[in-house]
Symmetry: C2
Subunit: 250 residues, 2 copies
């Protein structure tokens, strides 16, 4: 039995999210089915984060246990061949110790949120970004974002379905950056509450549009009340960008 | 009657190309149908370039003549509303003189070709780039590309269906640039022969893989023989990037 760390990329559009579901396709189920077809084994995949329906991954860390002897190159190539035509790809595979865990060993998670700030509907980036037609004030957004960095009670930005024991989280980074006609939000923390990134981006968009001041963001955080929340930004702009571990993994 | 310059963006995947076709959807036909629905007029659209099936546009210049009085903002917004759900968007609209012509007034065209140089299949960029799994030597590709810049007989890189009077063209720019795991080829000229960019990129890929030397590219050009051609790179990596005109247009 070898435990493998896989880095996955996927287009979230056709999936109900990472987690296996009875009512529709999931990335986990798709990967486990490919691993089963390759090895004949019943494989359970664990990921660094459980993304929602429609959320993309640039580099999600996952682990699987496989008894069959296989090298890293053949494992990645074999899984990629069997994952077709689903938009999921194994970017890399490496053996890790048996006690390494994609979720519990993870020391940090990073997300990217892409806003396309233009009037015209999206064509090439349709389903890849959230379009906001009116001009966003990214400096005001950055000022508002700074209020959220650090250790806080993030109850305001937490889904009612969140299973976390505590609403206290340390947000390491929440940067707002204009890249041409896009506005990118980079979020990093050891872990996030359910819907936290999309909730924060939804409120940042209200600041960018002048509907909230940066001080309103601080007031919303301090309220520790879900009712103070603006709304969740849509899933299609969100990318799981990186999972951090002690290095080297093995 | 006002002549309008429109800048269009599109995802080429569902289209037979720019030009109106009897046997499938075209960008021209889609735009003309939207303009007809908006104005009740029979509108003919002219583009700076006639792209092939599957080729994308980041900023294609087009003109249309419309009798109905409408301002630029309402024209762009109205067309965009009627273009849905097709992946074509009007990025901008501006009135131009009656003798301005998207094709004949065009002083320069620029294309981008995206190669994704990685082993893993594409997910988010599927249909948006040409994947080449083996490592490309972009320095050798750049050396080979330099042989093609300037005034040459490009018969080797010309489709047998090309309708140009002459195979003589001046290639102003053919730059090869590595951008992370991608290799981008930037091509600029007053005009191109049919399939010229895809033919050049196909040959550049052979140089990048070590199957041709940069000198082989020179020899292929000098042969002025279609039989000396490697092959055409696939349409899905090609983007019409810019059309240049005397400024201001009006």
């Amino acid at each position: 039995m070898t435990r493998w760390k896989l880095i996955l990329e996927w287009d979230g559009a056709p999936f109900m999210g990472w987690q296996r579901q009875d009512h529709g396709p999931s990335v986990q189920g798709t990967l486990e089915a490919a691993a089963h077809r390759m090895t004949g084994e019943t494989v359970t995949a664990q990921a660094a984060g459980r993304t929602d329906a429609g959320v993309h991954a640039l580099a999600m860390a996952v682990h699987v246990d496989i008894a069959r002897q296989v090298d890293a190159h053949r494992l990645a190539e074999g899984l990629n061949a069997l994952l077709r035509p689903h938009p999921v790809a194994v970017l890399s595979a490496e053996p890790v110790p048996d006690d390494w865990h994609a979720r519990f060993s993870c020391l940090g998670r990073r997300y990217l949120y892409r806003i396309s700030n233009r009037r015209a509907p999206l064509t090439l980036d349709k389903g890849r970004a959230w379009r906001i037609a009116k001009p966003l004030d990214e400096a005001a957004m950055a000022e508002a974002a700074a209020h959220l960095v650090g250790l806080h009670d993030f109850t305001t930005f937490r889904s009612t379905h969140c299973q976390s024991d505590s609403p206290l989280k340390t947000l390491d980074r929440l940067d707002v950056e204009r890249v041409g006609e896009e506005v990118h939000v980079h979020a990093a923390a050891r872990s996030f509450l359910h819907h936290q990134v999309r909730s924060m981006v939804g409120c940042l968009s209200m600041v960018g549009l002048g509907q909230w001041t940066p001080a309103d963001m601080k007031a919303a955080l301090d309220a520790r009340d879900r009712a103070a929340l603006g709304f969740n930004a849509p899933a299609e702009g969100l990318y799981f960008a990186e999972a951090l571990y002690e290095s080297p993994a093995a």
